[in-house]
């Protein structure tokens, strides 16, 4: 029964669906990037959307090509993205806090006040030392 299946068409369809999904996530993420009110929200909401979108696109592509080489590359990219994107988000977020990038005024910062205070003090001190 499998002889009747057009594998290419099947792959194309699966690939198309995945790609469209991925692109949709990307697009949404990008719109979010424009819309959301503060840096942290944009950061936490968006970059990850892109990660998912990208993953979907790549998977779609891998399925379409259906080659060992391609698969390994796709997995490599996905792997890299999954390792790197949270790390960079974390690092940038941390840097932002240290650079006193303000939070949205509706953000609940109760548990964070001490930390913020300490960090900013340290940062100011560092600055004074440099000047």
């Amino acid at each position: 029964m499998f002889e009747n299946i057009n594998y290419l068409l099947l792959r194309e369809i699966v690939s198309s669906v995945l790609i469209m999904l991925g692109v949709a996530f990307m697009l949404i993420a990008t719109i979010g990037l424009l819309r959301f009110p503060d840096f942290y929200i944009r950061m936490s909401a968006i970059t990850k959307g892109a990660t998912l979108g990208l993953t979907l696109i790549l998977t779609g592509m891998g399925i379409y090509f259906n080659e060992a080489d391609m698969l390994i590359k796709v997995l490599l990219i996905i792997g890299f993205t999954f390792i790197t994107s949270p790390v960079s988000a974390h690092v940038i977020g941390r840097t932002a806090v240290r650079n006193k990038i303000p939070f949205w005024d509706r953000t609940n910062l109760d548990e964070f006040k001490d930390y913020l205070h300490k960090e900013h003090m340290a940062r100011d001190h560092e600055k004074d030392g440099k000047e």
Binding site: L76, G79, F80, I83, T84, V87, H90, V91, R94
Partner: protein, 180 residues
Amino acid sequence: MKTVILATAIRILIPIFLLFSVYTLFRGHNHPGGGFIGGLIGSIAFVFHTMTHGPHHTVDTFLKVNLYGYPRQPNQSRSLYLMRMMRVNVWRRRRQALHQDIRTHMVRIEPISIIATGLLLAASSGLPALLTQQPFMTAFWTDFYLPIIGRPGTPILFDIGVYLLVIGIVLKITFVMSEE
């Protein structure tokens, strides 16, 4: 810029980067890639490490090699001694290191030496041709393929030279700059 998370991620990434860079290097003759691109990929691993831990730590981690050695016995033949030293340094390193006669010598690999080695390899890839009275850099190829590496030949040697050189250069530049 020390964060546990970044440091750990990079620890995981470094071997992948290095593997991938070697892969890119050898693929280069048939696919996009090659010595230069491979070298740069390989060197980012170290750039990351330097950015998170500082250059000294990177040097300590990657560029210091312990060589083991012990004085030659009075009536030990030179070749035997050399054999022994090689064995000590190449395999069974750990176990031999604990032996009481053995002394360690810390050898620092200078990025400059990596650069020089790269240049040497690249330049010397053209020399075999001269020995056979052919123009400089005339390529010699083997008749067989190796997996991943492909067909070995002097141009591949050239590419390896480029690879090493690029790694050496990026290392050197990064070290010097981050010491600033």
